[in-house]
């Protein structure tokens, strides 16, 4: 990479971006004007309303007459904020004539005369601020009155009030006002900062990547004798600068707004009316890597799109997904730990929260910052790869929908709608949403029908429909080629032993840090291993169906399209991560991801999906059989036996070696090219 060229591209892109009104509005105008206007407007409105309410007396309607209980009436009458009216219509509260209605029981006068207990019923409207205020005022007055009555009764009997209150609790909140406001801000600010950094990166990333392609200036730029990585870095630096500036300006604008606009409101909430500027300055440290990470991600994904519109379609889900970690900081119990410090986006959101609240653990902060920087570089290297791909740069094929009609000098007239990464990414997201919304509730209600619907209708069928819609070759997309016998033997050996190794790995590396809650294991065992179902049915539901349907999605469509944009290690890793995420449980992520990785390797090495299906089937079937016959639970580690493990490792390695050796003599490197000559069509 040439730094001089990267800086040259950076300067030019920044100049162009700063001349773009849309960028300026999002970057400068929005933070400077929006927060003060909203905050000051809201605080003024709240202030006016609160003052108006407080200055007015609450209108209390009595369902009866004061004479029912003169002592109470005279006590309450002392409060100037309560205005009573007698014989009120029960509908007066609904039509707004009074703010509250109280009904005093007819026996109250007599009960209160002695040592009895009076009964007072209060009717108020919980959705009306005035009614709620009336309730608060009336209750306060009644509590005071009741205290006085208790004191009088105790005095008559020459008893001390301590008799009724043997313990007096004094609460002392040691958190200072500053700390309390830091805590509240720590929950709110990360969301706003992440939102603004994302917003700051969103538009420039699209403009500098897909926008440049659409305008036709990218080809012009690429004719210059400059390394493409320098171009990507220049663009990334521009987007990062804008995102950082947007984030910092937002932070500053928010600080100023809180200090000057929301001060009185915060003071009333018993919090410091000033933002902790020292903590905010520290937060700036987190804004920079966050901006770098989001910018790298957006530049790299934006580069995949052909047009501005396509980039918007691709990046909007990314934007929303990136917002989730920011919102997660508000959940109780989520802290910056050695594990979360490595999680992209979540680590920065948590770090920002801790910095504002003044609870930073610097070692973890360093891990979060370094790992985020690393992720940024990874995304950048992916972006550089896209800029080196003629297919992605000069593709005439839209990522969504059919190819435009009309004359074309692109020299690659395609009759079919080639499946693009975006198509399959959309399919994956839809399937994930369907799993959460429909599959899980269905399985909980009826496991058998739920599993059948999940595997065949939610996962398998959409893959086939997508291939049909694209008029693509199912054989090519799904790698439905006849495998070599050596691959099948290897997959069999690895399939019957792989689950055991994964179990051992989980036990060694996951359980100490992320133990599965026992109640979750019991619930899963109850649902999965019900003795009521025949083994053959369970085998079909939990081994055959996933082996076919999940393989069609992951090692078929997903693996195929990801090979268009990623290197082989990238394809394998992505497949594992997505397969892990697909299982919708943080506890199942690691074992599923390992399996996903191995299954992807099988397809790549053997050139066929069939051995992967066999492996998947045997893996699930083995787990199922052992769970039923060896009488061990999902959390039962006694099954991990050293001798068995050594044997399993041995067989697995032999299987893996056979799969490795099954690679065809002429490997299918180009995802679009014909299958290897030695692979027979089914």
């Amino acid at each position: 990479m040439k730094v001089r060229i990267a800086l040259l591209v950076y300067r030019k892109e920044l100049l162009e971006s700063l001349r773009d009104r849309r960028t300026l509005v999002i970057m400068i105008l929005l933070p400077i004007c929006l927060y003060p206007l909203i905050a000051i407007g809201v605080s003024q409105w709240v202030g006016i309303q609160a003052t108006a309410h407080r200055s007015q007396a609450s209108r209390i309607g009595i369902d009866g007459t004061k004479r029912d209980w003169p002592a109470l009436q005279s006590a309450l009458q002392d409060s100037t904020k309560l205005q009573f009216s007698e014989w009120v219509d029960p509908n007066a509260l609904r039509n707004g004539t009074v703010d509250l209605i109280m009904r005093i029981g007819p026996e109250s006068k007599r009960a209160m005369g002695g040592d009895g207990r009076a009964r007072v019923e209060i009717f108020f409207d919980g959705t009306s601020a005035k009614s709620k205020l009336a309730n608060k005022r009336l209750r306060r007055a009644m509590v005071d009155f009741a205290d006085k009555m208790v004191a009088a009764r105790m005095a008559r009997r020459k008893l001390t009030p301590d008799l009724l209150a043997p313990i007096r609790v004094n609460e002392n909140n040691i958190a200072t006002k500053k700390k309390r406001s830091g805590h509240v801000l720590g929950n709110v600010l990360p969301v706003l900062i992440m939102l603004m950094v994302l917003l700051g990166a969103f538009y420039p990333a699209i403009d500098l990547t897909a926008g440049e392609k659409e305008r036709g200036t990218l080809e012009t730029l690429l004719t210059a004798p400059v390394p493409r990585i320098s171009i990507v870095v220049g663009k990334f630096l521009t987007v990062s600068t804008i995102a950082t500036f947007t984030g910092l300006l937002n932070l500053f604008a928010l600080g100023m707004t809180i200090t000057f606009g929301l001060g009185p409101i915060l003071a009333k909430a018993n919090m410091a009316g000033q933002i902790p500027w020292g903590a905010i300055a520290l937060t700036a440290i987190a804004v920079v890597p966050a901006a770098m990470f989001f910018s790298a991600l957006m530049v790299c994904i934006g580069a995949l799109a052909r047009t501005f519109k396509e980039a918007q379609t691709l990046l909007t889900p990314v934007y929303l997904v990136c917002m989730i970690p920011a919102m997660m900081v508000q959940l109780p119990g989520i802290e910056l730990t050695p594990l979360t410090a490595f999680m992209p986006a979540i680590n920065i959101a948590l770090l920002t929260r801790d910095m504002i609240a003044g609870n930073v653990v610097w070692a973890l902060a360093l891990v979060a910052l370094v790992s985020t920087t690393l992720y940024s570089f990874l995304a950048l290297s992916f972006g550089a790869r896209i800029y080196s791909s003629a297919r992605l740069l000069f593709s005439e094929e839209p990522m969504f929908g059919k190819k435009d009609d009309g004359e074309d000098e692109g020299d690659a007239p395609l009759k079919k709608v080639e499946l693009q990464p975006a198509h399959v990414a959309m399919l994956f997201l839809v399937i994930m949403a369907a799993l959460v919304l429909f599959a899980q509730p269905l399985q909980a209600k009826n496991f058998v029908s739920g599993m059948l619907v999940t595997e065949w209708l939610i996962i398998g069928l959409p893959v086939l429909l997508l291939i049909r819609w694209g008029n693509a070759s199912a054989q090519a997309v799904l790698s439905l080629y006849r495998p070599r016998a050596i691959a099948m033997v290897g997959a069999t050996l690895a399939g019957v032993t792989g689950w055991y190794l994964v179990m051992a790995l989980v036990e060694t590396f996951q359980q100490p840090y992320l133990p599965i809650p026992p109640e979750m294991i019991k619930a899963a065992e109850k649902m999965l291993f019900s003795g009521d179902r025949p083994f053959a049915l369970d085998l079909f539901l939990m081994a055959v169906s996933p082996a076919i349907c999940e393989e069609l999605l992951f090692r078929g469509a997903l693996l195929r399209v990801s090979r268009k944009v990623l290197s082989t290690p990238g394809v394998v890793l992505l497949n594992g991560v997505l397969f892990g995420a697909f299982h919708l449980s943080v506890y199942r992520f690691f074992p599923s991801a390992i399996l996903g990785i191995f299954l992807a390797i099988i397809v790549i090495r053997s050139g066929s999906i069939i051995p992967a299906m066999l492996f998947h089937f045997l893996n699930n079937a083995s787990t199922l059989w052992v769970s039923r016959n060896v009488n061990v639970g999902l959390d039962d580690v006694s099954v991990i036996d050293t001798r068995l493990l050594v044997g399993a490792v041995g067989l697995f390695l032999i299987g893996a070696y056979l799969v490795y050796r099954s690679k065809q003599t002429k490997q299918n490197e180009d995802p679009e090219a014909d299958p290897p000559a030695s692979i027979k069509h089914i």
Partner: protein
């Protein structure tokens, strides 16, 4: 007087490019000497743009070799790009930059010194008659003005080889004339020009030699006169139609 042997600026050998199963370019062999104006003609989808993009180093060939000004495109892509200027009818300028800023930017990308860039901008502004537009934003220029500035941008580093992909597409007669004048002038200064076009009159007028592409193959090559003679027609347009008919059979 003995015939002067001119250096070969463009040499391709069995150049192929596949897009999946589609073979956009099949075994293209070209040899173009210095100072020649070479025209690539052929119907849409014939492989002209692919051939020019490979020669410009914008996309790699699937197989085969291409030497540009003595440098192999895969071995020395940077030197190849530095030695040529590439311009298409569809490439555009940075709308939010001024004309002078665009030219200065590309001058720097080509590694020119500040002084040289200033001198080149002055020369090109005079040659393409846009001196009064230097401080105007590119999105405020007319189509013809944009094409003149684009040409200047492509040759800011005064390359030995200029590759033009349909440079006159969508231009009016006056604007097209600037392109034609530029090609003529470049030829007189010993520059090699390769360009693709759909306008046969333009090709006949400007080109020393023509290459007829069809289905990714170079079907015929020669001077406009030789091609007309070979196909026994009076005009290049007729030759194109005859050739397309015969090749399509």
């Amino acid at each position: 007087m003995s015939e002067q042997r001119l250096p070969i600026r463009v040499k391709t050998h069995k150049l192929c490019r596949n897009f999946g199963k589609i073979k956009a370019l099949r075994s293209l062999d070209l040899s173009i000497p210095a100072g020649e104006v070479y025209g690539l003609i052929g119907p849409n989808g014939a492989g002209k743009t692919t051939a020019l993009r490979i020669m410009a180093g914008l996309m790699p060939a699937t197989t085969g070799e291409a030497f540009i000004c003595g440098h192999e495109i895969n071995d020395n892509p940077t030197k190849v790009k530095a030695s040529l200027g590439f311009q298409t009818g569809s490439t555009t300028l940075y709308g939010r930059l001024r004309v002078s800023e665009v030219l200065d930017y590309f001058g720097q990308l080509y590694g020119l010194k500040r002084k040289t860039i200033r001198e080149r901008i002055a020369i090109l502004a005079e040659q393409f008659q846009f001196s009064d537009l230097l401080h105007r934003r590119c999105d405020k220029l007319s189509t013809g003005q944009k094409q003149r500035v684009s040409l200047a941008r492509a040759v800011i580093h005064d390359p030995m080889l200029v590759i033009l992909d349909e440079p006159t597409a969508g231009l009016d007669v006056l604007a097209s004339r600037f392109v034609a004048d530029f090609i003529t002038d470049a030829k007189t200064r010993g520059r090699t020009i390769i360009f693709s076009t759909h306008y046969m009159t333009e090709a006949e007028l400007l080109c020393d030699r023509l290459g007829l592409l069809y289905g990714g193959r170079l079907k015929m090559e020669g001077s406009p006169a030789e091609i007309k003679e070979a196909l026994a027609v009076n005009s290049l347009e007729e030759a194109f139609i005859r050739f397309a008919d015969e090749a399509g059979r």
